[in-house]
Symmetry: C2
Subunit: 473 residues, 2 copies
Amino acid sequence: MTTLFKDSLSVINVGLAGFAEDIAAAGGACVALEWQPPAQGDRDAAWALATIFNHSQVEEANALAFGRFASAQPVLVDVAPARDAIPGMAGGRRIILHAGPPIAWPKMCGPMQGAILGAAVLEGWASSMEAAARLVETGSIELEPCHHHGTVGPMAGIVSPSMPLWVVENKAHGNRAYSNFNEGLGKVLRFGANGAEVIDRLRWIASDLAPALRATLARTGGIELMPLMAQALNMGDEVHNRNAAATSLFFKRIAPAMFETNVARDAAAKALAFIAGNDHFFLNLSMAACKAMLDSAADVPGSSMVVAMARNGVNFGIRLAGTGTQWFEAPANPIDGLYFPGYSLADAAPDLGDSAITETAGVGGFAMAAAPAIVKFVGGTSTDAMHHSLRMRAITLGTLASFTLPSLDFAAAAAGIDARKVVDSGILPVINSGIAHRQAGVGQIGAGVTYAPMACFAAAVKTLARQIGASAT
Amino acid sequence: MTTLFKDSLSVINVGLAGFAEDIAAAGGACVALEWQPPAQGDRDAAWALATIFNHSQVEEANALAFGRFASAQPVLVDVAPARDAIPGMAGGRRIILHAGPPIAWPKMCGPMQGAILGAAVLEGWASSMEAAARLVETGSIELEPCHHHGTVGPMAGIVSPSMPLWVVENKAHGNRAYSNFNEGLGKVLRFGANGAEVIDRLRWIASDLAPALRATLARTGGIELMPLMAQALNMGDEVHNRNAAATSLFFKRIAPAMFETNVARDAAAKALAFIAGNDHFFLNLSMAACKAMLDSAADVPGSSMVVAMARNGVNFGIRLAGTGTQWFEAPANPIDGLYFPGYSLADAAPDLGDSAITETAGVGGFAMAAAPAIVKFVGGTSTDAMHHSLRMRAITLGTLASFTLPSLDFAAAAAGIDARKVVDSGILPVINSGIAHRQAGVGQIGAGVTYAPMACFAAAVKTLARQIGASAT
């Protein structure tokens, strides 16, 4: 100690920058290291984390879960009404699925409530929005998360029994996942709009578009979705908020085959024009593919791999492979983004929708480096986009060899979020997202970048550590 | 002089690195500046250059030429047989157009000769390749460059009277440009293949594909090509050797409309499947659009702007806006690239085709930064691709605001090559190119990057300087 202060010192300051500033002010040399304690200071989470870091049971479980995820082969195999595709929606049950973790009707955000009322009218359960509201308030319509039925829906994520769904089968594992059809932009149900124009479009999707696509799919046979997504990642998409290339590639696969069906020419022309006119059309296919990939990794005891991230417009929820069907929730973060003229953060509903299933699978915000043009939609620069993709490598279990990022010299996309690494590093999963107006019916008012809340991952790690501690005793 | 050597010296060495090494070996400090004399040491060209650098007549002419080019609006307006579209091919004339500057039959490379013989059989002028060869050798078939008829064709660039052409009109200037149809990859006429499979495909293109597209175009009305190309540049294409996005976007425009025509369902399905199966399909549309843009800048006396670069498989030729129809030629450079398995540089025909019209218009190699995935096809890294685009800024007159490069944070593409800047800087226009086997019929054996030869630009600058000197006296 007597010698320590005789020599000139080279000091590294970890954490709070104030100490470093004091040393510098006193004429000393000091390097300030930006550091935060794990779990943003949640002591219990940090302790739980320490018990399961480099834990052989977790490592083995993660290897198994990630292996199943990385070897998935999602194939679009059919189009079918929800009541036919999903067992829990059959038999005339009055049920409506919504995005995110479970939430009771009174707590739902405006767009989700608006969309549920629209679906009730679409189904013929009520003849007006007021009548629909009474049905929901009296519990005559059941409300459950999409995720509880192998399904994912963007924004409000509403699925009612008559709605046609994409049916995606993971050929490597045998599981199936579902998503609804993309309605385009403007006044659409998923942003809470429920006027006549919206209901009419949904009726046409069910009566014309879906049968045309079902007949076309019967001609093409199943369509492998990972190769389409991989190509799209090399064509400027991140297959969440930018699906311009993926939609075009999908369109190229189906248009010639539609001529070989019995679909009437005018109906076919209208169906194709609808798809060609909506660069987001592939989003729901991307989501169903990601859900099919991730569901094959679910239910692996001990695994800290995140298999779902979803938002109900109030809370953000995640599920781990190792903790079954349990949701770990926290209030959803606001979205930093580009707002359409006349709107601002004050008008925005909180982060909403099941579409964060794409980030959970390593695309979307995780693959932003593939999509420099996305920054025109969500803000930032193309350099930011690269940095997002690079940073996600610190919190993931591996990479998907078939998903490559051109601007990073074709590095494979980082995927398979490890909840432990999120808690340890403080690096939060990045999510590209559309922004809904907080009131039903207004629609999309922007798009931006947000982050999954730390509290979800801290809670998940605590629960996983308790389970592993219990199984170890 | 006596004081000079008393102080320690900081030396900058310009040019040959040997001097710098000597100084460093003697213990001195020396910065070596990489520099070459203008025109790669061609004294006359350097002198000519000095007389027209910052010359008001040239600057004004370039502003006029570049302005016409940058304001062009190429629109696909029709599909028509060459004999109907091009006045010089009407009236039963036995004429075949080829790529690049003029060249006599005996000097042509293998692929071009093979393609010409195939076209003669296609036209019914001969019943065998031997008979076709006799017709050509005896001068019974006229051979002229595509560029002499407002036309551009990739690789051999063969256009015969019955072949359907894309008709592109520059709505801003009223001029028209033409290109033939893309046959796909494998055994195709443009690489010199001329077997039954090739001729049959060309017959089907004329009898089925072209009429189907003509009828569809009549439904859609003219299709603006610059917006399609601009979108494709934001989707990983450089619209020369990568046209995956542009082809998809074009496909999306026409497929719904084809259902609204009277084209038979099976013919339509086959036509659409052919386009959907060929990611290069849009190339010929890109070329015709670039030709239409550049032709509006031609014939501006005094301008040093390059309005055409083209290769006939032996020589590389350029034309300036200020020197009318004159070609400035030099032997074509070899192509550094990726060869298909079993082939090497020794098998390659020299640089071939009119497709360098894309680089002349600021896309292709000039826009490589937009297309990192192109490096999988032509070699190099995505960083190389960015550097190519940045370097071209040094030899161009301006940028095209509507063509943006995402990985350079949406910088506008450099365009409008100034022959003076090429001669002055020694920076040669970069060109992405397919590589043909030197023998007719083998087809494509690779793709790569090459450069326009300096001698073309040196000769052009000398001629322009002579003309301006003459007009000034």
